[in-house]
Symmetry: C2
Subunit: 449 residues, 2 copies
């Protein structure tokens, strides 16, 4: 297989362990931002690194032609933690190429996808071409931790970032070879809960039976969050949700992902979810309550007969259009506090959050995106989907810059993003470059809004 | 304060990090056994180290006089893990003396108590005295992990270990200065459960809602183990339990430990337990189901939006007379399997177990023990209690050697055993030596059985 252009540069990008959630990787995150800015400069753009109270934001601009529309391409150079490391077949930050795929943390999410946009522009410049639109790159380092400093940055740089539309490749393709346009995303709200029982760990023989066990109480509390029908049992949780439309439920029935395939990809013994909805509806258009981490007591080898003093759980909620993150966290906190026994002190810490997003796929920019997909996948009609993941800043682009966002992702369902052995097909790198050029071309044509 | 004899030797004993449950401490455990055997030899006894498939067993004998009764003194030189280390004010294996207490892992459980018995014998020999009984020391290195190799050792060394009664100082005093005789112990049964959902960690946005979350299912499953009244909701769990006798319930009401004191010691905001029983009854004479550890998902800093593939929990059950450990584990496994959804694969691993113990406090050996306590605590009447902890080998001594066991402990309620900042009063070291001599004297007198 011949390697796509700029392949070594892509591998270089992947070698930065730019894990944004963990302070121990801070230097790697900053080194990655510096390298990326230099690379955008080399691609022919004017780039800057902007410090924030968190990780830096990298921007790059082509020269502004007042007559041309402006397209802002957003991505992120930070990645999810790679642990548990023992599930990786190769070290996550030493890219490994096998069977036409590159294995590395961030290979798909989002380094591979944002890199192919950058290289689309670079290729055009190197072949002596002219950009059909003005281009602004905005690549942040905190997407995986909630993009806390992006909205203030948008506010402060409204003028420099002024644009007609935002393009993001951070979503998925429904299947290999199927052009996919994503018109909806779930939102997210995060929370961590800490249960304190006795003031120190106790001997479970001496005190067990007379003192509440925070681990047991955590389980009892967490178990109240779902009903037996898989619905979330928090009062008011579903209030105000925009119901699924008939055309969506109909279209998704034939869009190629069935339960057998989902079982194959996930390896789950059986699927499970909210009664009354299909698996796609459950993941694309229904909210969830997930435990992302449980911690408490003795976790070493063997047995320790301890009655632990503390237990904690990390929770996130995926939200759908009509749900407001802060209100959801209020409802959940009220639910938990109302059920926590007096033997336990409950502390709730709120994490990042972001609203769900929905854009009309039949509007003018939606049509341009679909035209670009038709050009890159000749003879294939784009599939219209929503996605279960969250890109909270899409709502910010609408609110602060006043523009819609087009989601044209290149992630495959089995890319292993946020999981072990994340990978990206080598050929998607060049596909992404072609999509970039087709899209910028389609967006240069004026349309009726 | 003047230090008791052999104090430096005691500190030396405490410096061995003889944590039996964790392979990383294996060398420390073995070094501790070697030192202890040498020390017993120095004390005037004939000592041997016996290899087992686990950690070594140390024995020591005084010369056998056929006319004298033989007393076997049992103890253990292994200790609980010290983690979480950040809760210790001083390093757990560097003994620290402050306010008349020695702070170190094992200072009370069990090094301090077995060491005072050894020194009682050593003192007698050094002052030119004669032992009133034959003495056998049996000090093992696996008490904190279930004493797996002790019963086979008793079987194999029945003759050398032949004795009239066993003495153990590994229990507690009801309060400082109160002579305490323990006539009952809870048993224990351990289990670890592993829940596997998807075959690898998944992105909670892409798959969340359609795939069961093992953390959530673990909580839902664990929450079924208790009813709202604090009773264990496993069918058949309470079958066959010997009911508490009226004299016990009556005596315990006045034995000095009340709920205010229990709250003070444990720091629990409120007490909690099985309906219909007092705190002492709950800890001394009622069974429990405790989660000792919960593990699953992301435990690092910040958020990881993962739908984890695995979750696990360590459980132990404290058992009371009438409950058979293997049967209890069967019942719990049946309970869990019957409630585990098809979306989850459940694996159950059984750990160590041991039956509860009950000895008649009014029999001849019980009377001798109480006489010894009266001699060491002049003017005070011994308090008769049960204990919530487990010393499974007490049942083995009865079954294999055919003898009863006397439990005369010197642990204070706030000794921090199995917890952080474990401590032992300096004066209890000498108290233990005096108790040893008084007890051996009392046991030399023939009584009607």
């Amino acid at each position: 297989m011949s390697l796509p252009p700029f392949f070594d540069d892509y591998l270089h990008f992947l070698r930065f362990a730019s894990v944004s959630t963990d302070d121990r990787y801070r230097e790697h995150v900053h080194a990655c931002a510096a390298w990326l800015s230099g690379y955008l400069q080399k691609a022919g753009l004017k780039s800057e690194i902007h410090a924030t109270p968190g990780h830096p934001i990298v921007t790059a601009h082509s020269p502004r032609h007042p007559a041309k529309p402006t397209v802002l391409i957003y991505g992120h150079y930070d990645v999810q933690p790679a642990d548990p490391l023992d599930l990786w077949l190769h070290p996550p930050f030493e890219p490994h190429v096998e069977n036409g795929k590159i294995y590395a943390r961030g290979s798909t999410d989002n380094k591979g996808q944002i890199f192919s946009h950058i290289c689309g522009v670079r290729q055009l410049f190197e072949s002596g071409g002219q950009l059909p639109v003005n281009v602004v790159f905005l690549v942040e380092g905190e997407e995986e931790v909630g993009s806390d400093h992006l909205a203030p940055f948008l506010e402060a740089h409204r003028e420099q970032l002024q644009c007609d539309v935002v393009v993001i490749s951070d979503t998925g393709m429904i299947a290999p070879g199927v052009p996919t346009f994503t018109y909806g995303l779930r939102g997210i709200a995060a929370m961590e809960i800490f249960l304190q029982g006795p003031s120190k760990d106790l001997h479970s023989g001496i005190f067990g039976g007379a003192v509440a066990n925070p681990l047991t109480e955590l389980c009892r509390l967490a178990a109240t969050l779902h009903g037996p029908d898989g619905k979330i049992a928090v009062e008011g949780f579903y209030d105000g949700i925009l119901p699924l439309q008939d055309w969506e439920r109909g279209a998704w029935k034939t869009c190629g992902m069935d339960d057998a395939e989902l079982k194959r990809i996930t390896g789950a013994p059986e699927l499970q979810g909210e009664a009354g909805y299909t698996s796609l509806e459950r993941t694309w258009a229904r909210p969830t309550c997930e435990l992302n981490g449980l911690t408490g007591g003795y976790q070493g080898q063997g047995t320790k007969t301890v009655l632990p003093s503390q237990a904690s759980a990390k929770l996130t909620f995926r939200l759908v259009p009509g749900q407001e993150p802060a209100r959801i966290l209020d409802l959940v906190e009220t639910h938990l506090r109302g059920r926590c026994p007096p033997s336990i002190t409950l502390r709730v810490e709120r994490g990042h959050s972001g609203g769900a997003y929905y854009v009309d796929p039949h509007g003018p920019y939606g049509q341009a995106a679909q035209d670009a997909l038709r050009a890159v996948f000749p003879g294939k009609e784009p599939v219209l989907i929503r996605e279960g993941g969250s890109i909270p800043i899409v709502a910010d682009f609408k609110k602060i810059l006043g523009v819609d966002t087009l989601l044209l992702g290149l992630a495959l369902p089995d890319a292993g993003i946020h999981s072990s052995n994340e990978c990206f097909p080598v050929e998607h790198l060049e596909l992404g470059m072609r999509l970039n050029r087709a899209l910028l071309g389609a967006l240069a044509v004026p349309r009726n809004g």
